[in-house]
C-alpha cells in the first residue's frame, strides 16, 4: 500500500485524537497562540491529505480503498473514495481550513477557546469521515460524531436562551433522525447480510459473485430496501434541511458562533446531499432492484418536488428576515432545494447524458454554494462583531467602514445570486440546461423563478449593509486584518470559479461525475471492493 492510501486511513482517527487532546493540553499550556497553530496545523494536514487523495483518485481513474486493520471490506470498516467524494473531501477540507484561519481571529473575542477548538476539530473529523467512509454503519457513527459536535457548537453560547432553544430543537429531532437511520441499517443488514456500501450495491444490482465471507440475501429484499431507503432518506433530508425538515436550520445556524455558522451552512448540509446521492446512485442505482420496481422513481420525484418547494420557501422567507444571519440561513434552504433538483435527476426516463449533466450541476452548485455561503457568513461576521447586533436595520451602512469585508460580501452575494461572471451563474445555467434536456420543463422554469425571488432578499441585505449611509455613532474597530484576508481570498475564489467554469471546471466536474455516479462508475466502485476481497481468497 502506498503512502497516500496510508495517510488517508490515518487522517480521520488522527483528527479525532487531536480534538480530544486539546482539553488535556490546555491544562498545561495557557497560551492561545499554541492552540491557534495546533488547530491550523491539523486542518492543513487534512487539506493536504484530502488533496493528494483526490489527485491520486482522479489521475488513476479508479476508486481508492483503505481497509482498517487489514480486514478486507465486508468484514472490517473500509474507506472507499471515488472521484465524487474525493472532490467533496477537498472542498470540505479547504473551506474548513479557511474557517479555522478565521476562527483564530474570531476566538480572540471569546471567553474560552479550548472547547470551541475541540468541537471544531470534531466537526471536521465528522465531515471527512462521513464523506470518505465506504461502510454504511460507519456513516452512521460519523454522522453522530458530526452531529454531536454541531449540537455542541450551536449551544456554544450556553447562557443565551435562544442558543439553548435552537440546540434543543436541532438535537432532539436530530437524534430521532439518526436513530431512524440506524433502524434503516438494521433492515439493510437483515436482508443483505452486509453493511459495506459496495457489497450492498453488488447485491442490489444482482451481480454474480461467490460470497464466502459476506452473508446471503435473506427474505424479501425489495421491501426491505424500500423501507430502509425511506427511513434513511428521512435522516439525510433532516441533515441537509430539505423542506419539511428545514425547521431547525433558521434557528440553529444563526445562533452558533459565526465561523461555525459558515461550517454548518456551507459544509454540514452537503453531507446529507452526499449521502442521498450515494444511496440513490451508487447503492440503489438505476439498474438495481429498487430501480426496477419503480420505487426509486417515486423517491426521486418526491425529492425533486421537495427541492422545488424548499427553494421557493427559502427564497420567499428570506425576503422578510431582518436578522442578517437568519436571512443567510433561509438562503441555505433555498440553495439546498436547487441542489436537490439537480441531484434527483436520475429518473428512469432520463438519459445517461442528462443524468450526468444534472449531477454535474448539483456538484458544481454544492461547490459554489459552499464557497459563497461560508464567505458571506464570515464576512458579515466581521460587520456583526463591529456593530454588536445582527439586526439589518441597526447595522445600516456599517459596511462602509470595512471596505475589504464589504467587497467580499458583494462578491459573495453576486455568487449566490448567480450574476454572470460568477460560479453561481454557471451552475444554475447548467442545472437549467440539464432539466430541459431531461424533459422536466416546469422544474427548469422553477430554477429561474427561485433565483429571481431570492435576488430580492440578497439586494435587501446588500443595500442595508453597504449602500445605506452609516450612522454617525459608528466607529471602526481595528484588528480585522486576518479575517478580511480570509474572506477576500474566498471572494476571489468565487470569481475564479466563474471565469474558469465554461472552459475548464464544468468539463472536469462532468468527468468526475461520469467516472463515479454512472453505471460504469458504480461498477468500478464495486470492482475495487471485489479485488480487495479476492486478494484474501486463495487461488
Amino acid at each position: 500500500m502506498d503512502v497516500v492510501t496510508q495517510l488517508l486511513g490515518i487522517i480521520v482517527p488522527l483528527l479525532a485524537l487531536a480534538a480530544f487532546v486539546i482539553p488535556l493540553l490546555s491544562l498545561y499550556i495557557k497560551k492561545k497562540g499554541f492552540f491557534d497553530v495546533y488547530v491550523t496545523g491539523f486542518s492543513t494536514l487534512a487539506l493536504l491529505i484530502s488533496f493528494f487523495t483526490a489527485l491520486k483518485v482522479i489521475n488513476t481513474g479508479k476508486p481508492l480503498l483503505y481497509a482498517y486493520g487489514g480486514w478486507p471490506p465486508p468484514l472490517g470498516i473500509s474507506y472507499e473514495i471515488d472521484s465524487f467524494n474525493a472532490v467533496l473531501g477537498v472542498l470540505t477540507a479547504g473551506i474548513m481550513w479557511f474557517i479555522v484561519l478565521y476562527s483564530v481571529w474570531y476566538s480572540s473575542h471569546m471567553d474560552s477557546y479550548v472547547w470551541y477548538y475541540t468541537l471544531l476539530l470534531g466537526l471536521e473529523t465528522g465531515l471527512l469521515g462521513c464523506l470518505y467512509t465506504g461502510d454504511a454503519f460507519n456513516l452512521f457513527v460519523m454522522i453522530e460524531v458530526l452531529s454531536i459536535s454541531a449540537y455542541g457548537l450551536v449551544a456554544y453560547y450556553r447562557n443565551k436562551p435562544q442558543a439553548i432553544e435552537a440546540a434543543i430543537k436541532y438535537g432532539m429531532i436530530g437524534a430521532v433522525a439518526t436513530t431512524l437511520y440506524f433502524l434503516a441499517l438494521v433492515f439493510i443488514y437483515a436482508s443483505f447480510g452486509t453493511l459495506n456500501m459496495a457489497d450492498i450495491s453488488l447485491k442490489a444490482h444482482q451481480l454474480p459473485f461467490f460470497n464466502l465471507i459476506s452473508n446471503d440475501i435473506y427474505g424479501h429484499i425489495m421491501a426491505a430496501s424500500a423501507v430502509a431507503l425511506a427511513l434513511a432518506l428521512w435522516a439525510f433530508t433532516f441533515k441537509s434541511a430539505l423542506f419539511p425538515n428545514h425547521f431547525w436550520l433558521p434557528d440553529a445556524h444563526p445562533e452558533a458562533p459565526t465561523p461555525v455558522s459558515a461550517a454548518l451552512s456551507g459544509l454540514v448540509v452537503n453531507v446529507g446531499v452526499y449521502a442521498i446521492i450515494r444511496f440513490m446512485y451508487t447503492i440503489f442505482g438505476k439498474a438495481s432492484i429498487v430501480g426496477t420496481i419503480g420505487f426509486r422513481d417515486v423517491v426521486l420525484w418526491a425529492l425533486l418536488i421537495l427541492g422545488i418547494v424548499s427553494g421557493l420557501v427559502g427564497a420567499l422567507l428570506m425576503i422578510v428576515q431582518s436578522d442578517v444571519k437568519r436571512l443567510l440561513a433561509y438562503s441555505t434552504i433555498s440553495h439546498i432545494g436547487l441542489i436537490y433538483m439537480g441531484a434527483s435527476i436520475g429518473l428512469s426516463s432520463v438519459s445517461q447524458e442528462s443524468m450526468s449533466l444534472g449531477l454535474t450541476a448539483a456538484l458544481f452548485h454544492i461547490i459554489n454554494h459552499s464557497v459563497g455561503k461560508a464567505l458571506l457568513f464570515m464576512a458579515t461576521g466581521i460587520l456583526i462583531w463591529a456593530a454588536g447586533t445582527r439586526d439589518l436595520d441597526k447595522m445600516s451602512g456599517i459596511g462602509r467602514l470595512y471596505p475589504a469585508a464589504s467587497l467580499a460580501i458583494l462578491l459573495g452575494f453576486f455568487q449566490l445570486m448567480g450574476l454572470p461572471p460568477f460560479g453561481g451563474f454557471f451552475s444554475k445555467l447548467l442545472l437549467y440546461q440539464a432539466l430541459i434536456s431531461a424533459g422536466l420543463i416546469i422544474p427548469a422554469v422553477m430554477v429561474i423563478l427561485i433565483s429571481a425571488i431570492s435576488i430580492l432578499g440578497y439586494i435587501k441585505a446588500m443595500y442595508a449593509l453597504i449602500f445605506l449611509p452609516p450612522g454617525s455613532e459608528m466607529t471602526k474597530k481595528p484588528g480585522t486584518g486576518l479575517a478580511s484576508a480570509v474572506v477576500l481570498v474566498l471572494g476571489v475564489t468565487c470569481i475564479i470559479l466563474g471565469i474558469l467554469a465554461p472552459f475548464y471546471i464544468i468539463p472536469w466536474l462532468n468527468n468526475v461525475v461520469s467516472t463515479s455516479l454512472t453505471y460504469q462508475g458504480v461498477l468500478n466502485y464495486i470492482n475495487v471492493f471485489r479485488e480487495a476481497l479476492l486478494k484474501l481468497m486463495p487461488g
Partner: protein, 135 residues
C-alpha cells in the same frame, strides 16, 4: 394452527412497531423536555432490540439439540465449525448495538444538559412556554 414460536415472534415484532410509534409520538408531541428525552431513549432502545432480533439464531430447535455454542476442541474440525456457526448468534448486530448505545448515551447526556440549562434560563421545561418566552 400457528406454531407457538412463530406466534410469539410475530407478537414481538408487532409490539416493537407499536413501541416505535409511541416513542415517536412522545418525542414529537409531548410538551415536556424530560418526557421527550425519555421517549427518545425508548426509541433508540427499540431500534437496538430490533438489531438484536436480526442476529437471533433459532436455537434450540428440533434439528439442533440444546448445547451451548462453545468450541470445545483447541483445533476444531470443519464439522465442529459448521455446527458452531449454525448455533451461534450473529455477533455483528451486537457490535452495532454496542456502538449505538454508547453514541446514544452521549446524545442523551447532552440533551439532559441542554434541558437543565433551559430550565435555568427559562424556569420551565415545557416547550410551549419556552417558545412563548423567547423574546
Amino acid at each position: 394452527m400457528i406454531e407457538l414460536e412463530t406466534y410469539f415472534f410475530t407478537i414481538l415484532v408487532l409490539s416493537m412497531f407499536v413501541n416505535l410509534g409511541l416513542a415517536l409520538y412522545g418525542v414529537l408531541a409531548r410538551p415536556s423536555l424530560v418526557k421527550k428525552i425519555i421517549a427518545l431513549t425508548i426509541l433508540s432502545d427499540t431500534a437496538n432490540t430490533f438489531a438484536i432480533i436480526v442476529g437471533y439464531a433459532r436455537w434450540p430447535s428440533p434439528t439442533l439439540p440444546i448445547k451451548p455454542p462453545v468450541l470445545t476442541n483447541l483445533n476444531p474440525s470443519q464439522v465442529d465449525i459448521l455446527v458452531f456457526s449454525q448455533q451461534a448468534v450473529d455477533p455483528l448486530p451486537q457490535a452495532l448495538v454496542l456502538t449505538a448505545i454508547v453514541i446514544g448515551l452521549a446524545v442523551t447526556l447532552f440533551l439532559v444538559f441542554l434541558t437543565l440549562q433551559a430550565y435555568r434560563l427559562y424556569g420551565t421545561t415545557d416547550v410551549r412556554k419556552i417558545s412563548k418566552l423567547r423574546g
